[in-house]
């Protein structure tokens, strides 16, 4: 892929709260760097000093000259982002990584999102919608508070919501609802917790349905330098999430070795 990535320092234009732990941040970059759905950027407050030290990888929620990201507060870096005021300068490095594969003509897209993983899928849904396609979307969270941007998704997809506690939509997990949708003429795009993506990938593999995942790992650089973002590759060795992903054919990952600590946090927090 032709790298058009750049580092820009851009002010925060807007911050919108999406319930308790989620925020949408809009940056005023001033020019379109050409981000595609599924790509990500490395975000760091230009005035953070020595800590938090590393930039945080964030999927584009939208591109253009005023790109947006969806932030879930999980650690120090995201806490700082969630408190940033308009005008605060941020260092943005992007667009980075491999975008979602182009949808296959003749197959209906099924988007499977878990929590904050909705961001790259909503971006994808918007581009599909712009070409007159209406994908199916499954969107799950622990409670009704973990479904940010569900209204936006509802406008342009046939949306099924699930919550583990039953406070919204169907009680259960997205995978409970997925089985019935895995027909011959669909393909799946998924982003969410590792365990959810592993389950989705396995269901798709069993039914021979193409499945594209957007992976999340801790990252220090975001462009292939630190080698801190490996995923176990099917057949041995590693795939680097920042350069070979984040969007990748689920079959290329060895999900049995992909279990990571539940609060992987670290550089990704």
């Amino acid at each position: 892929m032709a790298p058009h990535r750049a580092q820009v320092v851009a002010p925060l234009l807007r911050r919108e709260s999406m319930g308790n732990a989620y925020q949408v941040l809009t940056f005023d970059v001033g020019r379109d760097l050409g981000a595609l759905p599924g790509q990500f950027l490395m975000v760091r407050g230009a005035e953070w000093g020595d800590a938090p030290l590393l930039p945080r990888p964030m999927s584009y929620l939208s591109g253009g000259a005023t790109p947006t990201i969806l932030v879930k507060v999980v650690g120090e870096g995201t806490t700082r982002m969630a408190r940033a005021e308009p005008g605060e300068p941020f260092s943005l490095i992007g667009p980075l990584g491999v975008p979602w594969r182009a949808p296959t003509p003749g197959r209906r897209a099924v988007l499977v999102a878990g929590g904050v993983g909705v961001a790259p899928l909503l971006f994808l849904a918007r581009t599909l919608s712009a070409t007159g396609q209406r994908p199916i979307a499954l969107y799950g969270g622990r409670t009704k508070k973990d479904l940010p941007l569900d209204d936006d998704l509802a406008l342009i997809t046939d949306l099924h919501l699930t919550t583990e506690d039953g406070s919204r939509g169907q009680k259960g997990r997205v995978t409970d609802a997925l089985g019935a949708l895995l027909a011959e003429d669909v393909e799946v795009f998924t982003c969410g917790p590792d365990r959810m993506m592993a389950a989705v990938a396995e269901m798709c593999a069993r039914r021979d349905v193409p499945c594209e995942v957007s992976v999340e790992t801790p990252m220090a650089c975001g462009y292939g330098v630190c080698l801190g973002c490996p995923l176990p590759a099917a057949g041995g060795g590693y795939i680097y999430a920042c350069t070979e992903g984040p969007c990748i054919d689920a079959r290329r990952i060895d999900w049995s070795r992909a279990e990571r600590a539940p609060s992987a946090g670290g550089a990704a927090s």
Binding site: P3, H4, R5, A6, Q7, R44, D50, A51, P52, L53, L54, P55, S91, I93, T217, P218, M219, A220, C221, Y223, G224, V225, C226, L227, G228, C229, P230, L231, P232, G236, G237, Y238, R257, R260, A261, P262, S263, A264, G265, G266, A267, S269
Partner: protein, 302 residues
Amino acid sequence: MNRLAVQIGSLELENPVLTASGTFGYGLEYDDFFDVATLGGICTKGLSREPRAGNPPERICETPASMLNAIGLANVGVEAFCRDKLPILRERGVTVIANIFASSTDDFVAIAERLGGEPGVHALELNVSCPNVSHGGIEFGKDPTLAAQVTGAVRRAVKLPLWVKMSPEAGDIVAVAKACEDAGADALTAINTIRGMTIDVDAERQRLANRTGGFSGPALRPIALRIVWDLVGAVKIPVIGIGGISTWRDALEFLLAGARAIQVGTASFADPCAAQKVLAGIAAHCERHGTTVTELIGRARR
């Protein structure tokens, strides 16, 4: 006159700002951000005789004003480096310091000989100080006799300027430094990372799969500076300072302590243009004070 030029043994660098091994890839990854050829040089990711896959995840973790890494020296191997990376670096006019790593003296010599035959390699940096692999690496760097043996063997095998990277985990780092000097090293680079650990209290286990990882970043700086100070006082060959350098003022601390050049490491992750900014800051400082980098070196030792 170039106010910024520094002499490292027989090698003249345009300026004293280099990038640290493992934090700058093979140099080409930063092309989109700035012209890498403007730096004093780049130290490549540690190269081994054969390609290496590295450690399982998690490999990295942020800690206060610092990070831990246990990459496990994943790299493309010396052959692929010479074939795919070096020709481009050469064409771009980049000053290349090849950082090399092996688990035996024979392998160190083999890699050095391979690189010694390639135009475009300006110096070798022997990594005898990696904390993240089970064989070799740090063992060589902790023991003066072993360090001297590796340094001497590579010295006899190639004509290239030879730098040896010091481990802060050596019991007596000055003894290791002197042993390397006596064995023919042209310069010492200091320091590599120190092993650290962090535990995820929810999962009740270490965050890194390797359990420990090399500690780097701004929090390392005072320790690195103290070690560089000690080494400058103990050896006659140039010492190159590494450890937590993010800004030109940080770099100046090392130069004033007597370092002949510096390397920017982890800071490049926080800001891909960090090394370029350090260089610009040093240049502006020299301009303002009507001085040269060479005049600044060791000024705090008076």
